[in-house]
Amino acid sequence: MKMNNKIILYLDGQMNGEEKAAFEKELDGSQALSNELKRLKEFNTGISELKNIPAQEDYFVQMIPKFRSKHEQKRKFSLFPGIAYSVTTATAVIIVMLFVMNKNVKNESQPFQNNEETQQVVNIEPTLDAGSLSDQFGFIDMSREEIANSDSLLNYMLVRELDLTPQSLSDISPVDNNTTDIQTILQGVNDKEADAIYNEILHKKIL
């Protein structure tokens, strides 16, 4: 075993009686071993002197108040995450609700997003296929058949705008010779007048 190893075991009290006696015998005959032991003993003494270091008493006096203050802060902060979580969740729910409501409102006025689109709709020739226009402008609440049955897109839009259903049409008081047919109503209106009426309705609705 190396010299240092023996010294460590000796000083740490890890040698049995026999080993200890042998080491002490060896120690008597070796100046180098003796010097090394002396050096390590001095080191141990140095350590002992550093066991109880005189330190600033204020620090230890302040230790508990400092802890109490930190603990109080931690306790307050531990309440905060609960509140923060509730507020964040409520805000998120409100934002989602507003978004959904806004989307619904937009869907109702879907075909007429801006003046350019409005003009586009107004300029559509009555001969155009109403079914394809329905796809283009998203008229999803009427079947293709219903749209096709309309004489023109303009008629369809008027019916839609006035919210006329077969039932409501029957409820309308006859304006001319007991007829409730929308076609009959529209017969007396030429294209220019129809455009003007529709533009006015659009203007009211959009602006």
Binding site: D12, F43, E49, L50, K51, I53, P54, Q56, F67, K70
Partner: protein
């Protein structure tokens, strides 16, 4: 070692709602907590952080103390664990360079030791201790400064006595080598 019967009364008083009992426990062990943390971390600021963390854990867990070990051993276990965890975190921070050199300098300047000669000797020792592996350092400190026997250290750290003796042996060897290096440098 602390008086266990007194500890028992203090813990029961604290569990019963007496906050001053906690203060008494802290007053009794604060020096041991601080100095163990100080020797493990090597500077005052880090030791203070560890000590405050230990008090926080003590406060939160003392109500569930089951008297399976002495309060002294339990506090030492918390202190030892927190010190090692702190050093691990610090090493990680330094690895990712979260801690700047300026802060490192500050941590060595601030101190509660006023005597210059003692301060220098302590600084030398801390420098040597910081150069040995954490586990070896822990055993060395507990053995030499906290004056704990291998059985107690084993109870605190959960390590076998044989392993602890080996760690202590390696710590001493390393310290002797470092001392020789220091002497040669001077």
């Amino acid at each position: 070692m602390a008086d266990p019967s007194s500890d028992f009364d203090l813990i029961n008083s604290f569990i019963g709602g007496d906050e001053s009992a906690f203060n008494k426990i802290v007053l009794k062990y604060q020096q041991k907590i601080y100095w163990h943390a100080r020797r493990m971390t090597g500077n005052h600021l880090d030791a203070d952080e560890v000590a405050q963390e230990v008090l926080m854990v003590l406060y939160e867990k003392l109500k569930n103390f089951q008297f399976k070990s002495s309060l002294y051993t339990w506090i030492f276990r918390i202190t030892a664990t927190r010190s090692i965890n702190f050093l691990r975190k610090k090493n990680l921070k330094q690895f990712f360079s979260f801690e700047d050199q300026e802060a490192k300098g500050l941590s060595t300047k601030e101190d509660i030791v006023r005597n210059i000669e003692t301060k220098e000797r302590l600084a030398k020792l801390e420098k040597v201790l910081q150069k040995i592996p954490v586990k070896q350092r822990e055993v060395f400190i507990m053995r030499n400064f906290d004056e704990l026997g291998y059985e107690e250290i084993s109870e605190i750290t959960g390590k076998s006595i044989g392993g602890l003796k080996a760690n202590y042996f390696h710590a001493m060897k390393k310290i002797m080598e470092l001392m020789k290096e220091n002497e040669n440098e001077q």
